[in-house]
Amino acid sequence: MAIGNVRVEPAAPRAGLRVRELLDHERFLGPAFVTPALLLLVLLVAYPFCMAVWFALSNSFIGRPSHFIGLQNFVTLWGSDSFRQTFQNAFVFTGIAVLFKVVLGITLALLLNEQLWFKRMIRGAVLLPWVIPTALSTLGWWWMFNSLYSVVNWSGIALGIMDPPGPNWLGQKYYAMSAVIAVNVWRGLPFFAITILAGLVSIPKELYEASEADGAGPAARFWHITLPLLKPVLAIVVLFSTIFTFSDFNIVYVLTNGGPINSTHLFATLTRQVGLESGQIGQGAAISLYLFPVLAMVVWVQLRFVRRQQY
């Protein structure tokens, strides 16, 4: 172990010397401590990112030398129906899914913030979708949306909400999009609920007591105390979720693989299809770079506003 090799230094005779020694240590130890992480980020994150940019500007194809072609890939993409459809899907998918997660997440957090029986068990159940491997739990949903044996349709028909045989969830474009969004909400809701709950717990009780004394009802208290004080937490959760929803791969890949007729493709799944399955690395990379502006925007907002409030 590294500790064994380190010499225990005798206490310095004067305080001034001791401080300088410490500083020297820091100047040397600090960079040494971050080097492994830095190397990793440069070689396996920054460098591949530059490669993606190069690919996107070239006519790269699996097993062929590539040449610089400028923005040709992006122009070609805008001419293809599948890409334009994907572009639209990405915004519809992200917008609706995040909206549902915010509304349901706040509701669920408010409920969890009350005195409950079996509090621990309830929390455990709520968080479960978030810890299980998404690819595997999505298989479960795939079976639940199966065209012949769908338990969703069976329940809907049994409850009298659906006419037999019920919708063909994964075979029709609007239903397929709803299914993909539903699974994304299912999987992302725990993150919203638990994080918002942490925000709720930190709101001082006195504020509620004071406003109650002033005669404010529950709705007024929610709008004038809870919501404004939750804003910072909500902002972070929404930003994080926007990136991860926008760049989602697992759910769409397992549930629909982009179909029917590209109606559920997202940038990540189309990247795989174009860049790996048909071997057009250049175009695939160009598609994946569409994730970048959203990433950049979220990082910018986060660095500029959200983190500033904490220091």
Binding site: L29, P31, A37, L40, L41, Y47, P133, L139, L148, S288
Partner: protein, 281 residues
């Protein structure tokens, strides 16, 4: 009397309000498990009720999965990749986080921002060029490619999480130790790390979960049955052509989740605190 009954009515209503959320969260797992335990005859009988097992449970699908597919190999791969990637990432993350939380040196601010930015970079942005890198270093279709690439998202996560924990350890305790003659490394090992154990447990749990659940890299960088992980094996190898073996597929999904569920049951509170720390700190 009425005053004391009011909260009870309210409490019952609250629980009723929670019920749809709980059903939504848990039902897919219930249905998955149920399906994996049904006989094929019942599974494909459209007249039977899908919510219960009426013709007796069977372990046939699990037996087939374990002895007739390569499921055990996939699980072993997952375990190996996850354990190595987690260990490496937590070590690298710990020292980087300590430097960020405690030390002043040239470029520390830029490095902190860099860590934060990579923490947000989605894996789906980089899998295409990384596949090329993996190919160059000679790890194409090898599980070691995953050991190499998983730290790219685990290290930023661990660093960010642990930085928050290290900041909560009072500086004075450490300075005391150093005045008494301990070196920086000794102070970190003997004083700071023991005090940050909850944070380390959190980092290990999350790194383990994130790499066990990782899908897109595993799907892209590995393909042969001896090298793939559990998630990839179940989703790609158990689906043959147009005929799906739903019982076996669901058994695979259930068993592939078991390691995470075990961790989860024992460390629920750490999951809750880590989840909020990752976002709020």
């Amino acid at each position: 009397m009425a005053v004391r009954r009011q909260p009870l009515v309210r409490k019952v209503l609250l629980h009723l309000g929670l019920l749809p959320f709980l059903l939504f969260a848990v039902f897919p797992f219930y249905h998955m498990t149920l399906t994996s335990l049904k006989t094929d005859r019942e599974l494909y009988d459209r007249a039977s009720v899908p919510l219960v097992i009426s013709q007796g449970p069977t372990l046939e699908h699990y037996q087939k999965l374990l002895w007739e597919s390569a499921f055990l190999t996939w699980t072993k791969n997952s375990l190996m990749v996850t354990v190595i990637a987690t260990t490496v990432s937590v070590v690298i993350g710990t020292i980087a986080a300590y430097a960020l939380a405690r030390m002043k040196f040239v470029g520390v601010g830029a490095f902190g921002t860099g860590i934060f930015v990579t923490y947000l970079v989605p894996t789906s942005l980089l899998f295409l060029p990384l596949a090329q890198v993996v190919h160059w270093v000679g790890l194409a279709d090898s599980k070691w490619s995953l050991v190499l690439t998983y730290p790219t998202f685990l290290v930023p996560f661990c660093t960010w999480l642990l930085m928050g924990y290290f900041r909560t350890v009072p500086k004075e305790v450490e300075e005391c130790a150093m005045v008494d003659g301990a070196t920086r490394l000794q102070a970190l090992w003997r004083i700071v790390l023991p005090m940050a154990i909850p944070g380390l447990v959190c980092a290990v749990l999350f790194a383990f979960t994130l790499s066990w659940n990782e899908f897109i890299y595993a799907l892209t960088f590995t393909s042969s049955s001896e090298e793939i992980t559990a998630s990839v094996g179940v989703t790609s190898e158990l689906i043959r052509g147009d005929i799906y073996f739903w019982g076996q597929l669901m058994a695979g999904a259930v068993l592939g989740s078991v390691p995470i569920v075990i961790l989860y049951v024992f460390f629920l509170d750490y999951y809750v605190s880590g989840l909020t720390a990752g976002a709020v700190k």
